[in-house]
């Protein structure tokens, strides 16, 4: 099929230069410039004449010229060293060293990098601000306890820890958190499977880190460092279960907010004593003892069962 060759008009170039060209047309134009020298010259002339970009370009040109003049002064030595190294490599390689075929090397590189990326993409939260926040909670608790001598830092940690996996889930999955959500939702991996994979990664990071931190803090009669594990798991599963009805963001806001209301608010509003002591007592009621832990465990099981029963709700689809 024949097409007439398309080229940039002066009017188009001028509109591109002053930024009034619609975005889609600007993209088309940019693409064309990659291949067409004549149009590139026309557009750069137009840009140089524009009052906004002209002076900036002139400045950049000057700076580049300055830098290259400097680099020229340094280059002869560098070139000499490079040539010696190349000569050395050339002398050694034939026969003694077999350079692996480029294709399998590239494939190996692709695979190692792909594994890294797959792990990395297992949760947008894990490579974003969330990991930093979890570390901040852990290190903050240690600093409070050993640096500032606050011996009630463990209740603080126990109060905040269950929020960490819930926040991780909120930042890992769903239309608001994952830039690839729309594409992933149309693949067999989308829906519950992806949500569970990412939740597992979030738990694998936050559970050991925060429990270990708790063990390092001086204990003072508060519930043990592992006491938050079942509540953390129950809240996470509750978030996933609720997400089937109201979406991931609202679900995590509900469970995270619910925990905060149950633990932090009574401690802050109580008139009995200092807030930290109140918090320790409130946590004691919520976490300590086989009855409390049993209740959290039962809640986790119940949520897991609900999740399994409603698994088809996740495979579809966002709520309109």
């Amino acid at each position: 099929m024949s097409t007439t060759p398309w080229h940039t008009s002066d009017d188009l170039a001028a509109r591109y230069a002053d930024g009034s060209l619609p975005e889609s047309e600007a993209w088309s134009l940019e693409k064309h410039l990659e291949r067409c020298g004549a149009c590139a010259a026309r557009v750069s002339a137009a840009v140089r004449q524009s009052p906004a970009a002209g002076p900036v370009l002139a400045q950049i040109r000057e700076a580049v010229l300055r830098e290259t003049a400097l680099a020229k002064a340094v280059r002869p030595e560098a070139r000499e060293a490079g040539r010696a190294a190349a000569h050395e490599a050339h002398r050694v390689s034939p026969g003694t060293l077999r350079i692996p075929p480029a294709r399998s090397a590239r494939r190996a590189r692709l695979w190692s990098s792909f594994l890294v990326r797959a792990l990395w993409a297992a949760g947008p939260a894990v490579r974003g601000a969330w990991t930093a926040a979890v570390w901040l909670v852990a290190l903050g608790a240690l600093a409070l306890s050993y640096g500032a001598g606050v011996d009630a830092s463990r209740p603080l940690l126990l109060a905040l820890a269950p929020l960490a996996p819930v926040a991780g889930v909120a930042l890992s999955y769903g239309v608001h958190a994952d830039p690839l959500h729309e594409i992933a939702a149309a693949t067999p991996s989308g829906g519950l499977r992806l949500m569970l994979t990412r939740t597992a990664v979030v738990l694998a990071v936050s559970l050991p880190l925060l429990t270990l931190t708790g063990l390092l803090l001086p204990a003072a009669g508060t519930p043990g460092a592992a006491a938050w594990l079942l509540p953390g798991l129950a809240l996470t599963l509750a978030s996933l279960t609720l997400a089937g009805w109201v979406g991931c963001r609202a679900a995590t806001a509900l469970t995270g907010g619910g925990w905060s209301c149950a633990v932090l608010v009574p401690a802050l509003t109580a008139s009995g004593g200092p807030a930290l002591t109140e918090l320790a007592e409130q946590l004691d009621r919520c976490l300590a003892g086989p009855r409390a832990q049993g209740a959290w465990g039962a809640a986790a099981l119940l949520c897991a069962a609900l999740l399994a029963a409603r698994r088809s709700a996740y495979d579809h689809m966002e709520k309109p």
Partner: protein, 257 residues
């Protein structure tokens, strides 16, 4: 043989109706989906991609009723979908992005590198495969999106505005790719560019206000334009056909309601 079968489809967004009483029957080939903004093109493609849920009606893809959750997995593995807008992880290269989608689509790990290579070359990005996606221009990102959609050699390919941001030369190349893909797969392309449809599509579906306004071939749509006389709006027969078909669809609506 039809690969996409839609009957009585109704889609609501909150309180507005995006699609109503849509019946469609598509087989292998390239199908153009035309219509003004807000006609429901994206809504239809998202339902067919199993991303959005219809409020009524039946959708059958590759012989499977996708209303059944258990049936969706196998269908999704044979589906390609380019959304109108999509994001990416900022540090991914083109190759990694396409490989990640290949992984999401359950392509066996051993076949992924070859499949990714082929998909990236088919959209003309072979020389940019190791560039970071965020360094690419809008048109190139669009082509990365097409590459991820075709990486699993889909039997049903859904493309929402694939030519947005492509330059005239690439549009021509892309039409050739469409015809090649349409030889074995069912390709549904939504576009606002009537000339894309004229050049690459075997069939046309025209949507207006959530309903099917016209179905036919590019040639028959052009014929509608010719029949509408010289006072039709548009620069080419098919553009005149487009506006005439829209008018014809809108005109009898009021009296019958």
């Amino acid at each position: 043989m039809s690969t996409i079968r839609v009957s009585g489809l109704r889609v609501r967004h909150r309180r507005t109706v995006a699609l109503d009483a849509v019946d469609l029957d598509l087989g292998p080939g390239v199908h153009g989906l035309l219509g003004p903004n807000g006609a429901g093109k994206t809504s239809l493609i998202r339902v067919l991609a199993t991303v959005a849920q219809p409020s009524a009606g039946q959708v059958e893809i590759l012989g499977e009723d996708v209303g059944e959750p258990a049936r969706r997995g196998p269908v999704r593995a044979r589906l390609g979908y380019l959304p109108q807008e999509f994001g990416y992880y900022p540090r991914f290269t083109v190759r990694e992005f396409v490989a990640y989608v290949a992984w999401l689509k359950d392509i066996p790990a051993a076949d992924v590198p070859a499949a990714v290579d082929l998909a990236v070359r088919r959209v003309g990005l072979g020389d940019r495969a190791d560039a970071k996606v965020r360094t690419l221009s809008g048109g190139m990102i669009r082509r990365v999106g097409i590459a991820q959609a075709i990486v699993n050699e889909p039997d049903v390919l859904l493309l929402d505005e694939p030519t947005a941001g492509l330059d005239p030369e690439q549009r021509v190349e892309f039409r050739a790719l469409l015809r090649e893909l349409g030889a074995r797969a069912t390709v549904l392309v939504s576009t606002h560019l009537v000339e894309d449809v004229a050049a690459a599509c075997t069939e046309v579906t025209l949507l207006d206000a959530g309903r099917v306004a016209y179905r036919g071939t590019p040639a028959s749509l052009s014929a509608v334009g010719e029949a509408s006389g010289p006072d039709g709006i548009g620069d080419s027969p098919i553009e005149r056909g487009y506006t005439a078909a829209l008018r014809a669809h809108r005109a009898p609506l009021e009296p019958t309601r």
